[in-house]
Symmetry: none
Subunit: 237 residues, 2 copies
Protein backbone atom coordinates (compact mmCIF):
# COMPACT_ATOMS: atom_id res chain seq x y z
CA UNK A 1 0.00 0.00 0.00
CA UNK A 2 2.73 2.27 0.98
CA UNK A 3 1.25 5.65 0.89
CA UNK A 4 1.55 8.92 -0.79
CA UNK A 5 -0.96 10.24 1.68
CA UNK A 6 1.41 12.90 2.90
CA UNK A 7 0.25 15.31 5.51
CA UNK A 8 -0.09 17.73 2.63
CA UNK A 9 -3.55 16.37 2.03
CA UNK A 10 -5.39 18.03 4.81
CA UNK A 11 -3.79 18.42 8.19
CA UNK A 12 -0.13 19.25 8.15
CA UNK A 13 1.08 19.16 11.68
CA UNK A 14 4.17 21.24 12.22
CA UNK A 15 6.15 19.82 15.06
CA UNK A 16 4.93 16.34 14.38
CA UNK A 17 6.82 15.59 11.21
CA UNK A 18 9.42 13.31 12.78
CA UNK A 19 6.72 11.34 14.54
CA UNK A 20 4.86 11.00 11.30
CA UNK A 21 7.93 9.53 9.64
CA UNK A 22 8.57 7.20 12.56
CA UNK A 23 4.99 6.03 12.54
CA UNK A 24 5.02 5.49 8.78
CA UNK A 25 8.27 3.57 8.72
CA UNK A 26 7.64 1.48 11.82
CA UNK A 27 4.25 0.51 10.45
CA UNK A 28 5.83 -0.55 7.18
CA UNK A 29 8.37 -2.59 9.07
CA UNK A 30 5.82 -4.24 11.32
CA UNK A 31 3.54 -5.04 8.43
CA UNK A 32 6.49 -6.60 6.63
CA UNK A 33 6.27 -4.13 3.82
CA UNK A 34 9.95 -3.85 4.56
CA UNK A 35 10.82 -7.45 5.39
CA UNK A 36 13.25 -8.50 8.06
CA UNK A 37 16.94 -8.28 7.21
CA UNK A 38 15.93 -6.40 4.12
CA UNK A 39 17.52 -3.13 3.12
CA UNK A 40 15.24 -0.18 3.19
CA UNK A 41 15.40 2.76 0.79
CA UNK A 42 18.22 5.23 1.16
CA UNK A 43 17.71 8.23 3.39
CA UNK A 44 17.65 10.54 0.39
CA UNK A 45 15.07 8.36 -1.31
CA UNK A 46 12.87 8.17 1.76
CA UNK A 47 13.10 11.92 2.21
CA UNK A 48 11.86 12.47 -1.30
CA UNK A 49 9.13 9.82 -1.07
CA UNK A 50 7.79 11.12 2.21
CA UNK A 51 8.16 14.73 1.19
CA UNK A 52 10.40 15.69 4.09
CA UNK A 53 14.00 16.74 4.47
CA UNK A 54 16.72 14.17 4.84
CA UNK A 55 17.46 15.57 8.28
CA UNK A 56 13.99 14.62 9.39
CA UNK A 57 14.33 11.11 8.01
CA UNK A 58 17.62 10.75 9.85
CA UNK A 59 16.06 11.85 13.11
CA UNK A 60 13.34 9.25 12.67
CA UNK A 61 15.84 6.54 11.76
CA UNK A 62 17.87 7.46 14.84
CA UNK A 63 14.92 6.61 17.00
CA UNK A 64 14.03 3.46 15.11
CA UNK A 65 17.63 2.36 15.57
CA UNK A 66 17.38 3.13 19.28
CA UNK A 67 14.28 0.93 19.41
CA UNK A 68 16.28 -1.83 17.78
CA UNK A 69 14.08 -1.99 14.71
CA UNK A 70 16.82 -1.16 12.24
CA UNK A 71 20.58 -1.17 12.03
CA UNK A 72 22.66 1.17 9.92
CA UNK A 73 25.95 0.61 8.17
CA UNK A 74 27.77 3.57 6.69
CA UNK A 75 28.29 3.07 3.01
CA UNK A 76 25.87 0.15 2.83
CA UNK A 77 22.47 1.25 4.00
CA UNK A 78 19.92 0.66 6.73
CA UNK A 79 18.61 -2.81 7.43
CA UNK A 80 15.56 -4.10 9.22
CA UNK A 81 16.45 -6.03 12.36
CA UNK A 82 12.89 -6.43 13.52
CA UNK A 83 11.52 -9.93 13.69
CA UNK A 84 7.73 -9.90 13.92
CA UNK A 85 7.51 -13.48 15.16
CA UNK A 86 10.76 -13.22 17.04
CA UNK A 87 10.80 -13.78 20.74
CA UNK A 88 13.80 -11.52 20.91
CA UNK A 89 13.26 -7.85 21.15
CA UNK A 90 14.84 -4.91 22.82
CA UNK A 91 12.37 -5.04 25.65
CA UNK A 92 13.18 -4.34 29.23
CA UNK A 93 14.26 -7.36 31.24
CA UNK A 94 11.33 -7.10 33.61
CA UNK A 95 8.87 -7.78 30.87
CA UNK A 96 9.98 -11.37 30.63
CA UNK A 97 8.89 -12.24 34.15
CA UNK A 98 5.41 -10.85 33.87
CA UNK A 99 2.55 -13.28 33.70
CA UNK A 100 -0.60 -12.58 31.74
CA UNK A 101 -2.73 -12.18 34.84
CA UNK A 102 -0.28 -9.75 36.39
CA UNK A 103 -0.27 -7.81 33.16
CA UNK A 104 -4.03 -7.67 33.18
CA UNK A 105 -4.11 -6.51 36.78
CA UNK A 106 -1.72 -3.70 35.99
CA UNK A 107 -3.74 -2.65 32.97
CA UNK A 108 -6.83 -2.65 35.12
CA UNK A 109 -5.17 -0.27 37.52
CA UNK A 110 -3.65 2.11 35.00
CA UNK A 111 -5.89 2.27 31.99
CA UNK A 112 -9.12 3.61 33.49
CA UNK A 113 -7.35 6.49 35.23
CA UNK A 114 -5.15 7.02 32.20
CA UNK A 115 -8.24 7.33 30.06
CA UNK A 116 -9.73 9.97 32.30
CA UNK A 117 -6.58 12.03 32.33
CA UNK A 118 -6.16 11.73 28.58
CA UNK A 119 -9.70 12.82 27.77
CA UNK A 120 -9.16 15.96 29.77
CA UNK A 121 -5.62 16.75 28.71
CA UNK A 122 -5.16 15.67 25.11
CA UNK A 123 -4.36 18.45 22.69
CA UNK A 124 -6.08 18.69 19.30
CA UNK A 125 -2.80 17.69 17.74
CA UNK A 126 -2.62 14.54 19.81
CA UNK A 127 -6.20 13.70 18.96
CA UNK A 128 -5.32 14.17 15.31
CA UNK A 129 -2.41 11.76 15.69
CA UNK A 130 -4.78 9.30 17.33
CA UNK A 131 -7.15 9.55 14.41
CA UNK A 132 -4.32 8.74 12.04
CA UNK A 133 -3.57 5.52 13.89
CA UNK A 134 -7.26 4.75 14.06
CA UNK A 135 -7.63 4.96 10.30
CA UNK A 136 -4.72 2.59 9.90
CA UNK A 137 -6.41 0.21 12.29
CA UNK A 138 -9.62 0.42 10.35
CA UNK A 139 -7.77 -0.38 7.16
CA UNK A 140 -6.59 -3.70 8.58
CA UNK A 141 -8.51 -6.67 7.31
CA UNK A 142 -6.90 -9.81 8.63
CA UNK A 143 -3.32 -8.95 9.56
CA UNK A 144 -3.50 -9.65 13.27
CA UNK A 145 0.15 -8.76 13.85
CA UNK A 146 -0.25 -5.34 12.33
CA UNK A 147 -3.46 -4.80 14.25
CA UNK A 148 -1.86 -5.64 17.57
CA UNK A 149 1.00 -3.30 16.82
CA UNK A 150 -1.38 -0.50 15.93
CA UNK A 151 -3.40 -1.20 19.03
CA UNK A 152 -0.23 -0.70 21.02
CA UNK A 153 0.46 2.58 19.31
CA UNK A 154 -3.09 3.69 19.97
CA UNK A 155 -2.71 3.01 23.65
CA UNK A 156 0.66 4.66 23.75
CA UNK A 157 -0.77 7.82 22.25
CA UNK A 158 -3.43 7.87 24.92
CA UNK A 159 -0.78 7.51 27.59
CA UNK A 160 1.09 10.38 25.98
CA UNK A 161 -2.11 12.37 25.93
CA UNK A 162 -2.25 12.43 29.70
CA UNK A 163 0.69 14.80 29.62
CA UNK A 164 2.19 12.86 32.49
CA UNK A 165 5.65 11.57 31.55
CA UNK A 166 5.77 9.35 34.60
CA UNK A 167 2.53 7.66 33.66
CA UNK A 168 3.79 7.28 30.11
CA UNK A 169 7.01 5.67 31.31
CA UNK A 170 5.07 3.23 33.45
CA UNK A 171 2.68 2.42 30.67
CA UNK A 172 5.58 1.77 28.33
CA UNK A 173 6.63 -0.97 30.72
CA UNK A 174 3.11 -2.35 30.52
CA UNK A 175 3.25 -2.32 26.74
CA UNK A 176 6.63 -4.02 26.82
CA UNK A 177 5.18 -6.74 28.96
CA UNK A 178 2.16 -7.03 26.71
CA UNK A 179 4.38 -7.49 23.69
CA UNK A 180 6.55 -9.98 25.46
CA UNK A 181 3.70 -11.95 26.93
CA UNK A 182 3.77 -15.38 25.44
CA UNK A 183 0.02 -15.37 25.56
CA UNK A 184 0.00 -12.61 23.02
CA UNK A 185 0.73 -15.20 20.42
CA UNK A 186 -2.39 -17.04 21.48
CA UNK A 187 -4.25 -13.79 21.60
CA UNK A 188 -3.34 -13.25 18.00
CA UNK A 189 -4.72 -16.64 17.12
CA UNK A 190 -8.08 -15.49 18.33
CA UNK A 191 -7.86 -12.36 16.28
CA UNK A 192 -9.94 -13.53 13.39
CA UNK A 193 -11.13 -10.98 10.86
CA UNK A 194 -14.54 -11.05 12.48
CA UNK A 195 -13.09 -10.33 15.88
CA UNK A 196 -10.89 -7.60 14.44
CA UNK A 197 -14.03 -5.96 13.13
CA UNK A 198 -15.48 -6.00 16.64
CA UNK A 199 -12.38 -4.37 18.05
CA UNK A 200 -12.43 -1.80 15.26
CA UNK A 201 -15.92 -0.78 16.26
CA UNK A 202 -14.78 -0.54 19.86
CA UNK A 203 -11.80 1.62 19.09
CA UNK A 204 -13.89 3.80 16.84
CA UNK A 205 -16.34 4.42 19.64
CA UNK A 206 -13.48 5.05 22.03
CA UNK A 207 -11.97 7.61 19.72
CA UNK A 208 -15.25 9.41 19.23
CA UNK A 209 -15.72 9.58 22.97
CA UNK A 210 -12.27 11.06 23.36
CA UNK A 211 -12.80 13.57 20.59
CA UNK A 212 -16.07 14.59 22.25
CA UNK A 213 -14.30 14.83 25.62
CA UNK A 214 -16.83 12.43 27.04
CA UNK A 215 -15.12 10.97 30.06
CA UNK A 216 -17.80 8.47 31.01
CA UNK A 217 -18.25 7.19 27.49
CA UNK A 218 -14.49 6.82 26.99
CA UNK A 219 -14.13 5.09 30.32
CA UNK A 220 -16.89 2.70 29.36
CA UNK A 221 -15.24 1.75 26.07
CA UNK A 222 -11.92 1.30 27.83
CA UNK A 223 -13.43 -1.06 30.35
CA UNK A 224 -15.12 -3.02 27.60
CA UNK A 225 -11.81 -3.46 25.85
CA UNK A 226 -10.23 -4.66 29.08
CA UNK A 227 -13.01 -7.06 29.85
CA UNK A 228 -12.93 -8.43 26.35
CA UNK A 229 -9.20 -9.10 26.63
CA UNK A 230 -9.78 -10.71 29.99
CA UNK A 231 -12.46 -12.94 28.57
CA UNK A 232 -10.11 -14.19 25.88
CA UNK A 233 -7.42 -14.73 28.46
CA UNK A 234 -9.63 -16.87 30.66
CA UNK A 235 -11.00 -18.74 27.72
CA UNK A 236 -7.45 -19.79 26.97
CA UNK A 237 -7.19 -21.60 30.26
Amino acid sequence: MANSSLPSSGAYLPGATVKYVIETLSTRIVTQEYASEERLPSERQLAQDLGVARNTVREALDQLEARGMIRRRAGSGSFVTYDPDGENSATSPVAADVGPLQLQVMRGILEPEMMRLAVVNMTPRQIEALSVVLSKMEAVQADATAFVRLEEEFHRLIAEGTGNPLLLACYNLVLDARRQSFRTAMYRRHLTPARIAIYQRGYNGLFNAIAARDIEEASEFMKLSLIEDQRILLQED
Copy 2:
Protein backbone atom coordinates in the same frame (compact mmCIF):
# COMPACT_ATOMS: atom_id res chain seq x y z
CA MET B 1 36.53 33.10 27.71
CA ALA B 2 38.05 29.72 28.24
CA ASN B 3 39.05 29.22 24.73
CA SER B 4 38.93 30.79 21.37
CA SER B 5 40.99 27.93 20.05
CA LEU B 6 38.38 27.21 17.49
CA PRO B 7 38.86 24.44 15.04
CA SER B 8 38.85 27.10 12.36
CA SER B 9 42.39 28.05 13.17
CA GLY B 10 44.33 25.22 11.73
CA ALA B 11 42.95 21.74 12.22
CA TYR B 12 39.32 21.46 11.34
CA LEU B 13 38.21 18.00 12.23
CA PRO B 14 34.98 17.11 10.55
CA GLY B 15 33.16 14.55 12.60
CA ALA B 16 34.65 15.72 15.84
CA THR B 17 32.98 19.08 16.26
CA VAL B 18 30.13 17.88 18.42
CA LYS B 19 32.52 16.00 20.66
CA TYR B 20 34.60 19.12 20.99
CA VAL B 21 31.57 21.11 22.12
CA ILE B 22 30.48 18.40 24.54
CA GLU B 23 33.97 18.21 25.99
CA THR B 24 34.19 21.96 26.36
CA LEU B 25 30.81 22.40 27.98
CA SER B 26 30.96 19.40 30.29
CA THR B 27 34.37 20.56 31.49
CA ARG B 28 32.98 23.99 32.24
CA ILE B 29 30.12 22.43 34.14
CA VAL B 30 32.27 20.06 36.17
CA THR B 31 34.74 22.81 37.02
CA GLN B 32 31.81 24.91 38.17
CA GLU B 33 32.56 27.56 35.60
CA TYR B 34 28.86 27.11 35.02
CA ALA B 35 27.65 26.58 38.55
CA SER B 36 24.86 24.21 39.53
CA GLU B 37 21.33 25.42 38.95
CA GLU B 38 22.76 28.27 36.93
CA ARG B 39 21.59 29.20 33.48
CA LEU B 40 24.13 28.74 30.79
CA PRO B 41 24.41 30.98 27.72
CA SER B 42 21.76 30.69 25.05
CA GLU B 43 22.28 28.24 22.25
CA ARG B 44 22.81 31.06 19.79
CA GLN B 45 25.35 32.68 22.06
CA LEU B 46 27.23 29.42 22.60
CA ALA B 47 27.27 28.78 18.89
CA GLN B 48 28.84 32.13 18.24
CA ASP B 49 31.33 31.84 21.11
CA LEU B 50 32.47 28.38 20.13
CA GLY B 51 32.46 29.19 16.45
CA VAL B 52 30.07 26.43 15.47
CA ALA B 53 26.56 26.26 14.14
CA ARG B 54 23.62 26.31 16.50
CA ASN B 55 22.62 22.86 15.32
CA THR B 56 25.94 21.53 16.51
CA VAL B 57 25.49 23.13 19.90
CA ARG B 58 22.02 21.61 20.11
CA GLU B 59 23.36 18.16 19.34
CA ALA B 60 25.89 18.55 22.12
CA LEU B 61 23.26 19.83 24.54
CA ASP B 62 21.05 16.89 23.62
CA GLN B 63 23.71 14.53 24.87
CA LEU B 64 24.48 16.54 27.96
CA GLU B 65 20.78 16.47 28.76
CA ALA B 66 20.73 12.72 28.23
CA ARG B 67 23.59 12.46 30.71
CA GLY B 68 21.52 14.46 33.16
CA MET B 69 24.00 17.30 33.36
CA ILE B 70 21.62 19.96 32.12
CA ARG B 71 17.92 20.50 31.81
CA ARG B 72 16.25 22.64 29.16
CA ARG B 73 13.11 24.67 29.37
CA ALA B 74 11.68 26.16 26.21
CA GLY B 75 11.51 29.91 26.48
CA SER B 76 13.67 30.03 29.58
CA GLY B 77 17.02 28.50 28.83
CA SER B 78 19.25 25.57 29.74
CA PHE B 79 20.17 25.00 33.36
CA VAL B 80 22.92 23.01 35.00
CA THR B 81 21.52 20.10 36.98
CA TYR B 82 24.88 18.58 37.68
CA ASP B 83 25.69 18.32 41.35
CA PRO B 84 29.43 17.96 41.95
CA ASP B 85 28.71 16.70 45.45
CA GLY B 86 25.85 14.65 44.12
CA GLU B 87 25.13 11.58 46.17
CA ASN B 88 23.04 9.89 43.59
CA SER B 89 23.37 10.12 39.87
CA ALA B 90 21.82 7.00 38.49
CA THR B 91 18.21 7.98 38.20
CA SER B 92 16.20 7.07 35.19
CA PRO B 93 16.07 9.83 32.58
CA VAL B 94 12.31 10.15 32.73
CA ALA B 95 12.43 11.10 36.36
CA ALA B 96 13.86 14.50 35.54
CA ASP B 97 10.81 15.58 33.56
CA VAL B 98 8.29 14.65 36.20
CA GLY B 99 6.64 17.47 38.08
CA PRO B 100 5.57 17.14 41.70
CA LEU B 101 1.90 17.19 40.80
CA GLN B 102 2.35 14.52 38.15
CA LEU B 103 4.20 12.41 40.66
CA GLN B 104 1.38 12.80 43.13
CA VAL B 105 -1.20 11.86 40.52
CA MET B 106 0.68 8.70 39.71
CA ARG B 107 1.05 7.77 43.35
CA GLY B 108 -2.67 8.33 43.78
CA ILE B 109 -3.34 5.86 41.01
CA LEU B 110 -0.90 3.16 42.02
CA GLU B 111 -0.59 3.15 45.78
CA PRO B 112 -4.17 2.37 46.83
CA GLU B 113 -4.40 -0.62 44.51
CA MET B 114 -0.87 -1.62 45.37
CA MET B 115 -1.78 -1.63 49.01
CA ARG B 116 -4.75 -3.90 48.47
CA LEU B 117 -2.69 -6.38 46.48
CA ALA B 118 0.11 -6.33 49.01
CA VAL B 119 -2.16 -6.98 51.97
CA VAL B 120 -3.50 -10.05 50.28
CA ASN B 121 -0.30 -11.38 48.81
CA MET B 122 2.56 -10.56 51.16
CA THR B 123 4.33 -13.55 52.63
CA PRO B 124 5.19 -13.67 56.33
CA ARG B 125 8.81 -13.28 55.38
CA GLN B 126 8.07 -10.08 53.48
CA ILE B 127 6.05 -8.77 56.39
CA GLU B 128 9.01 -9.54 58.62
CA ALA B 129 11.29 -7.54 56.28
CA LEU B 130 8.80 -4.71 56.44
CA SER B 131 8.86 -4.73 60.21
CA VAL B 132 12.64 -4.46 60.18
CA VAL B 133 12.47 -1.32 58.06
CA LEU B 134 9.71 -0.01 60.28
CA SER B 135 11.83 -0.31 63.40
CA LYS B 136 14.62 1.56 61.67
CA MET B 137 12.17 4.29 60.79
CA GLU B 138 10.97 4.50 64.36
CA ALA B 139 14.55 4.87 65.52
CA VAL B 140 15.00 8.02 63.46
CA GLN B 141 14.83 11.20 65.47
CA ALA B 142 15.64 14.12 63.20
CA ASP B 143 17.59 12.79 60.22
CA ALA B 144 15.16 13.69 57.47
CA THR B 145 17.39 12.26 54.73
CA ALA B 146 17.59 8.89 56.41
CA PHE B 147 13.86 8.91 57.06
CA VAL B 148 13.06 9.62 53.43
CA ARG B 149 15.34 6.79 52.37
CA LEU B 150 13.66 4.37 54.75
CA GLU B 151 10.26 5.54 53.61
CA GLU B 152 11.26 4.66 50.11
CA GLU B 153 12.41 1.22 51.16
CA PHE B 154 9.16 0.69 53.03
CA HIS B 155 7.15 1.51 49.95
CA ARG B 156 9.35 -0.62 47.76
CA LEU B 157 8.80 -3.61 50.02
CA ILE B 158 5.09 -3.12 49.75
CA ALA B 159 5.35 -3.00 45.99
CA GLU B 160 7.38 -6.20 46.11
CA GLY B 161 4.76 -7.69 48.37
CA THR B 162 2.17 -7.53 45.63
CA GLY B 163 4.08 -10.30 43.86
CA ASN B 164 3.57 -8.44 40.63
CA PRO B 165 6.93 -7.70 38.98
CA LEU B 166 5.33 -5.34 36.50
CA LEU B 167 3.80 -3.28 39.25
CA LEU B 168 7.11 -3.27 41.05
CA ALA B 169 8.92 -2.06 37.96
CA CYS B 170 6.42 0.74 37.51
CA TYR B 171 6.62 1.72 41.13
CA ASN B 172 10.39 1.84 40.91
CA LEU B 173 9.97 4.55 38.30
CA VAL B 174 7.69 6.38 40.69
CA LEU B 175 10.28 6.12 43.44
CA ASP B 176 12.96 7.39 41.07
CA ALA B 177 10.84 10.40 40.31
CA ARG B 178 10.12 10.89 43.98
CA ARG B 179 13.82 10.88 44.80
CA GLN B 180 14.52 13.35 42.04
CA SER B 181 11.68 15.52 43.22
CA PHE B 182 13.07 15.65 46.72
CA ARG B 183 16.39 16.84 45.49
CA THR B 184 14.97 19.89 43.75
CA ALA B 185 11.97 20.60 45.91
CA MET B 186 12.74 21.32 49.49
CA TYR B 187 10.57 18.72 51.02
CA ARG B 188 13.06 17.95 53.71
CA ARG B 189 12.71 21.42 55.12
CA HIS B 190 9.24 20.47 56.23
CA LEU B 191 10.36 17.22 57.77
CA THR B 192 10.81 18.51 61.28
CA PRO B 193 11.21 16.02 64.12
CA ALA B 194 7.63 16.67 65.10
CA ARG B 195 6.40 15.87 61.63
CA ILE B 196 8.58 12.80 61.48
CA ALA B 197 6.85 11.60 64.62
CA ILE B 198 3.50 12.00 62.92
CA TYR B 199 4.66 9.97 59.94
CA GLN B 200 6.05 7.32 62.28
CA ARG B 201 2.65 6.86 63.86
CA GLY B 202 1.12 6.62 60.41
CA TYR B 203 3.53 3.98 59.20
CA ASN B 204 3.12 2.04 62.41
CA GLY B 205 -0.61 1.92 61.93
CA LEU B 206 -0.15 0.97 58.31
CA PHE B 207 2.12 -1.90 59.23
CA ASN B 208 -0.26 -3.22 61.84
CA ALA B 209 -3.07 -3.16 59.33
CA ILE B 210 -0.94 -5.09 56.86
CA ALA B 211 0.10 -7.63 59.47
CA ALA B 212 -3.56 -8.07 60.37
CA ARG B 213 -4.49 -8.42 56.71
CA ASP B 214 -6.96 -5.62 57.16
CA ILE B 215 -7.44 -4.27 53.67
CA GLU B 216 -9.69 -1.36 54.54
CA GLU B 217 -7.56 -0.20 57.42
CA ALA B 218 -4.37 -0.38 55.34
CA SER B 219 -6.02 1.43 52.50
CA GLU B 220 -7.10 4.13 54.88
CA PHE B 221 -3.61 4.68 56.22
CA MET B 222 -2.20 4.75 52.72
CA LYS B 223 -4.64 7.43 51.68
CA LEU B 224 -3.81 9.47 54.75
CA SER B 225 -0.14 9.35 53.86
CA LEU B 226 -0.91 10.45 50.35
CA ILE B 227 -3.13 13.30 51.46
CA GLU B 228 -0.54 14.46 53.93
CA ASP B 229 2.12 14.60 51.21
CA GLN B 230 -0.32 16.43 48.99
CA ARG B 231 -0.98 18.98 51.68
CA ILE B 232 2.71 19.71 52.03
CA LEU B 233 3.02 19.95 48.28
CA LEU B 234 0.29 22.54 47.98
CA GLN B 235 1.62 24.44 50.94
CA GLU B 236 4.88 24.76 49.04
CA ASP B 237 3.23 26.74 46.31
